[in-house]
């Protein structure tokens, strides 16, 4: 028997076949028959490199606010922002107002007190002389009275003279002492005024750099308000904020890799200097201070930094990609592939690394197959088909210029 195939029939058959295959394609691709594409991976065992990540700002460990201790007007500001200053350098001066005049007045008072002291000691000498005279008069009159040449009344008058002279000496001594005390008081007052005069000169307490100039000559500032602020540029460190939920393992002396926003391509070494006991309850972040091993050039205070902390390498552990973890109610688990069907297995997770690996403490063994990526959320009845990849990164990358 001979089958005759004319071109028309071939065309007809081909068209029919094409339509049939297209229908088959459509049936398999969409609708309930279509499987969920997934990728699978074996559970890995090995050393686990966990890391912590946080962002922070560059701050100065030591900073000073330089301002007056009493309200006043700024007379002059001698330094500007960015200038390096040395310890004891005059940075700014407050207006002393009447301090100098009060000093002059006190100086005059001191002179006057010295004169008063001189007068008092002269008075004392005079009283001594009077006592000497009264004593010898008394002596003489005593002799005369013994021989009854004078009346007892005359002798009593001499005795009273002597007692008065003694009292005068005491008065003079007290006056001298008082004049000395007055002098001391005035001297102390002058010293205090002198101190105040010095205090209106704002001196640098350390070697540092001026960061802000908050008041200019002529402006009035209250006590405690800064005129200038200084920092110690050698003491820059990073105030690091790490999400509380991702801060397990944060301890002092961890090695840190610091990336500054202004120098994003460079990595700087550092380490955790201290961990603050107070954590931020509003932002739910823990705060750690990270110091640079070597302070970078051109760093600015307040700059943002990204810090990655290396946790110690754990002992052998099994880990899975975090994309494979799913939450069912309160249970965390993964979809295991058992005989081509997905089965949910609850797991207990441990630390996680920044490259997306999560340590598995319980629930899985090494080399078990688990679903990593899937087109849809899986359930126990899902009909799945394993594929090497769900996206095509190569073609996308080659398409990009």
């Amino acid at each position: 028997m001979k089958i005759s195939l004319n071109p028309q029939k071939i065309l007809f058959l081909t068209a029919g076949l094409l339509i049939l295959s297209a229908i088959a394609f459509v049936a398999l691709r969409s609708g309930p028959l279509a499987p969920v594409m997934v990728t699978v991976e074996k559970v890995k065992e090995g050393n686990f490199h966990a890391e912590l990540f946080g962002i922070g700002t560059v701050e100065a460990r030591r900073s000073w606010m330089i301002g007056p201790t009493a309200a006043g007007r700024v007379l002059s500001v001698k330094v500007d922002v960015g200038e390096r200053v040395t310890k004891g350098q005059l940075l700014a001066e407050m207006d002393p107002v009447d301090l100098d005049q009060r000093m002059a007045s006190l100086d005059a008072s001191l002179d006057k007190a010295a004169s008063a002291q001189t007068a008092a000691s002269a008075q004392q000498k005079d009283a001594m002389a009077r006592l000497d005279l009264a004593t010898s008069n008394m002596q003489r009159n005593q002799d005369l009275a013994d021989k009854n040449f004078i009346s007892p009344g005359a002798l009593e008058a001499r005795a009273q003279e002597k007692i008065s002279a003694l009292a005068m000496i005491q008065v003079a001594a007290a006056n001298t002492k008082s004049a000395g005390q007055e002098l001391t008081r005035l001297k102390a007052e002058r010293a205090a005024l002198q101190q105040q005069r010095v205090n209106v000169r704002l001196l640098s307490p350390v070697d540092g750099v001026v960061t802000t100039r908050d008041a200019e000559a002529g402006s009035t500032v209250v006590a405690g308000q800064p005129v200038l602020r200084l920092i110690d540029p050698a003491s820059l460190w990073i105030k690091l904020r790490i999400d509380q939920g991702r801060s397990a393992g944060l301890v002092p002396h961890l090695k840190a890799q610091i990336s500054l926003r202004s120098q994003a391509q460079d990595r700087f070494e550092g380490q955790v200097e201290r961990i603050e006991i107070l954590s931020d309850s509003i932002t739910e972040e823990r705060i750690a201070m990270v110091s640079f091993t070597r302070s970078p050039m051109g760093i600015s205070v307040g700059e943002m930094a990204e810090v990655t902390l290396q946790l110690p390498v754990s002992a052998k552990a099994i880990s899975v990609p975090n994309a494979s973890l799913h939450q069912q109610g309160l249970t965390t688990g993964v979809w295991r592939m058992v005989a081509g069907k997905p089965v949910f297995a609850a797991v207990r997770t441990g630390a996680s690394s920044l490259d997306g690996q999560v340590q598995i403490l319980e629930g899985l063994q090494a080399d078990q197959e688990i679903v990593v990526y899937s087109q849809k959320t899986l359930n126990a009845d899902s009909h799945v088909q394993v594929t090497p990849s769900l996206v095509k990164p190569q073609t996308r990358q080659s398409a990009a210029p």
Partner: protein, 397 residues
């Protein structure tokens, strides 16, 4: 017995097939239109399903976070966890923006949340979930980003670390997921010029800039740039609880608005996309009527073209039912070809659409039924003409 319809089709099969394909493309457009409508509804439902939430807790007297804007403090989530029946709760922020990709920008909904909590995508196609607290993102594949790309949102660059699928807003915009803190900052962060202007404005207000209170101005300015607001709290309830029973005490005692899944679906499907859905529904109805008319006319003209042949058939004594069945068979055949061509073409071009087009099997089946009925009805017009043919026409001029 010879199949008259088959013979006739084979006789001029090209004409038949091409008419079928033409009709099929029209049916394809109709099916796609239905798919667009289904896609819109499914986008809205996908948003709700993918968020994994049972309850949406939003600002009082608003229908947020999708249909209206809603803003509440981010510590409400702790109060929610303390309510009876609540299993898990998480903060979430949503904002739609143009995300820059290379030289062009993509419309995307930026979602702030925490991995593995309600609101976060549960499945990935590639990459991983975010591990750093800042500046990492997971993007829907429809955004066009791939793992390793940089997305600029406000002033920060976010590295795409994972790719997911079917995570869309109610408007069908693909989503980009970033960490909650980043999202809070991005949502409320103004550009630098605005911040500077605001600082100057505050500084010039004598109430805030008081010389006798040093530090007051700085404190106020710092408080202006920080945000602890979120748009909604997503709540998952215990499996044996009723959503409404969990929602009731939150509404009553926490003075917040709570929506259950049904309530949210009502808002999204019946309110948010109602007008555009009706628009498409209207178009779909007109398209179906036009398709039916075209089928009727095609079969009618095909029959008119065969008037002589039918007359010959009548002349040789063919029964009316045979002729009617022949025309009916051809009409149904045309319908079958048309339907399959339409279904195949719709399936092929549906993924090219920028928004999701959902071709449901049920829709296809009812579409098939409707096509067959329309073809059958359309053929009656032609059958009527055919039966009225005078056999004399076969030999006449």
């Amino acid at each position: 017995m010879i199949n008259l319809a088959g013979r006739d089709i084979l006789h001029s099969w090209q004409k038949f097939v091409f008419t079928g394909i033409g009709l099929g493309l029209l049916i394809g457009v109709t099916l796609t239109m239905a798919g667009v409508y289904r896609g819109m509804v499914d986008d809205a439902r996908a948003l709700l399903t993918n968020s994994g939430a049972d309850l949406w807790v939003v600002q009082k007297d608003t229908q947020g976070p999708y249909a209206e804007s809603s803003s509440l403090k981010d510590d409400w989530v702790r109060s929610m966890l303390g309510m009876p029946g609540v299993m898990r709760a998480s903060n979430v922020t949503y904002f739609t923006m143009q995300v820059k990709r290379a030289s062009q920008d993509v419309r995307a909904m930026v979602v702030g949340g925490e991995p593995l909590s309600p609101g976060w995508p549960s499945h990935l196609l590639a990459g991983r979930h975010i591990t750093r607290g800042h500046y990492e993102s997971v993007a829907d594949i429809k955004t066009g980003f791939s793992v390793g790309d940089q997305i600029q949102i406000r002033r920060q660059f976010y590295k795409v670390v994972g790719i997911t699928q079917r995570m869309v807003s109610s408007g069908g915009d693909p989503m980009v997921f970033i960490s909650l803190k980043d999202a809070q900052e991005a949502q409320f962060l103004k550009d630098n010029d605005a911040i500077l202007n605001e600082r100057v404005r505050t500084a010039s207000n004598p109430l805030f800039n008081r010389p006798s209170v040093p530090g007051l101005l700085e404190a106020i300015q710092a408080s202006q740039t920080s945000s602890h607001n979120v748009n909604a709290v997503l709540v998952q309830i215990h499996p044996d609880e009723q959503p409404e029973q969990v929602a009731q005490p939150i509404r009553r005692w926490k003075h917040l608005e709570v929506f259950t899944r049904e309530g949210m679906e009502e808002i999204l499907v019946a309110k948010l996309i109602a007008t555009s859905a009706k628009q498409i529904g209207m178009f779909l109805v007109i398209l179906a009527i036009v398709s039916a008319a075209i089928v009727a006319f095609i079969i009618y003209t095909m029959t008119l073209g065969k008037i002589r042949e039918i007359a010959v058939l009548k002349l040789i004594g063919t029964r009316n039912t045979t002729i009617a069945w022949m025309i009916m068979q051809q009409a149904l055949g045309l319908g079958v070809i048309g339907f399959f061509v339409g279904k195949v073409s719709a399936t092929f071009w549906a993924p090219i659409f920028p928004k999701f087009v959902l071709l449901e099997t049920a829709d296809a089946l009812s579409g098939f039924g409707v096509t067959m009925v329309i073809c059958a009805l359309a053929s009656t017009l032609a059958i009527r003409v055919a039966l009225q043919v005078d056999p004399a026409q076969a030999i006449g001029g």
